[in-house]
Symmetry: C2
Subunit: 233 residues, 2 copies
DNA sequence: TGATGTTTTATGTGCATACATATTATTTTT
DNA sequence: AAAAATAATATGTATGCACATAAAACATCA
């Protein structure tokens, strides 16, 4: 049949994807093992392994030791979002970025914040509010809590010219984090800041970043109506 | 100094991440080349390569042939979203899923749709509207256009019991797609369907999937207020 | 029958080696 | 001095081999 040989892992990957796509290997099907495929493709098992691993990482194959490799039944689409600094996000679109600090003070956070950050309830944290604008129009409102015990340098930073969004990325390392996206209605306060009607649908990002066991910061970003976040599948 | 050897790529990866995190290798820094690291870590260059490749894929390193490997200056956070079928999304939370087809007919789509799908302006497509519910309460409204030329079988499918969301994943292969997230205000029609106040902030997903050069389907998913989409960083 | 141990098997990984390839750095030529 | 050819170098990848590991399949025993 196919006398052609596949000399590199990319071409093996392409062929594997083609077979999945052409339904030669149907969802749920167990595909031949690496050794057999290597024989068929005329390459080393290592090469097949590399290709199958890549396809599996992309979500189209499920692999388990001994059980073998099968075509994913629920090809859970994996979208990789690139979350950049707001300033560069705006500048990359060719718009002019401006920034305005609104509040910056130490305060005891609401319970929702202290429990999400796993800090003791009564301990004050650094609270920063700021507005990011694109071409003069409000773009996003940043509402952030920072733990000064975790990032002592933040207490000495005014955040008057550099946003916490940007400053933290540069000065506060983190090991992991959680992010969530939602739609929220603009409160009266939000509406004033973002210069939009009260009740507007705002795209909202909530993020908590951790450095090991301690929360570094929790931020809520409110984007003006019309904002959308894109990704490829 | 460190007499310890790193025998596997995961431990090398951990050590590399530690150094980046501890600022031993600062953002922008050129790190030692693979051969030197292999020597230092007491393992093969292949192993170092595997580890560095993984870290680079995660976004913390930038690698270029001959130029070497350097710590990413803009650690653009990459969040990987798992977009599942709505039914399983609901069932995985232990809720009861129900589905109701609202409309299904051939129609000439608005220009916004036909141009996004790159179909000729006047050609009718299959239009499906359906409601997904969790524990009896409306959860998401699905507004979908399907190209019957690309998925002929869809014309023979009633979508009365199986949602297009689920049916397409099983029957219509795709090569790639775009997805975007936004917040929109509920129109009166949306409000009735989702049983929420008019003007409510709805989390919205817009997705177009392609099979090679042809658009398979374009879908708009409106989620009830309160819905959020999570990911880890 | 059910629990427990053993074998088998497919994937996962490490290593030495060789060569490929993209870039940068250097040298030569015009 | 600019352009072109050439060398040097770090990453990228293919291969054969060996062994690790998880988990299914099977056998054994109470």
């Amino acid at each position: 049949m196919n006398t052609h040989t596949f000399r590199n892992w990319q071409s093996v990957q392409t062929e594997v994807l083609r077979r999945i796509h052409a339904r030669e290997w149907k969802p749920g099907d167990l595909i031949p093992n690496e050794a057999d495929l290597a024989l068929e493709f005329g390459c080393a098992r290592t090469t097949v392994n590399r290709a199958l691993r890549a396809v599996a990482e992309a979500g189209a194959l499920d692999r388990r030791r001994k059980a073998g490799t099968r075509v994913a039944t629920q090809p859970v689409a994996k979208a990789t979002l690139n979350i950049a600094v707001i300033r560069t996000e705006i500048e990359d679109r060719g718009q002019t970025y401006s920034y305005r600090l609104i509040t910056r003070h130490d305060a005891v956070p609401p319970l929702a914040i202290s429990s999400a950050m796993e800090t003791s309830a009564g301990r004050p944290l650094l609270h920063v509010g700021a507005l990011h604008s694109a071409d003069g129009t409000p773009y996003a409102f940043e509402d952030r809590w920072i733990d000064p015990n975790v990032v002592p340098a933040a207490s000495r930073e005014g955040f008057e010219t550099v946003s916490a969004n940007e400053w933290l990325l540069k000065h506060a390392p983190y090991t992991h984090g959680e992010i969530s996206f939602a739609a929220t209605s603009a409160t009266q306060e939000d509406a004033v800041l973002l210069q939009c009607p009260e009740g507007s649908a705002l795209f909202t990002i909530n993020r908590v970043t951790w450095d090991g066991g301690a929360a570094v910061t929790k931020v809520r970003l409110l984007f003006r109506l019309g904002h959308s976040m894109r990704a490829v599948l």
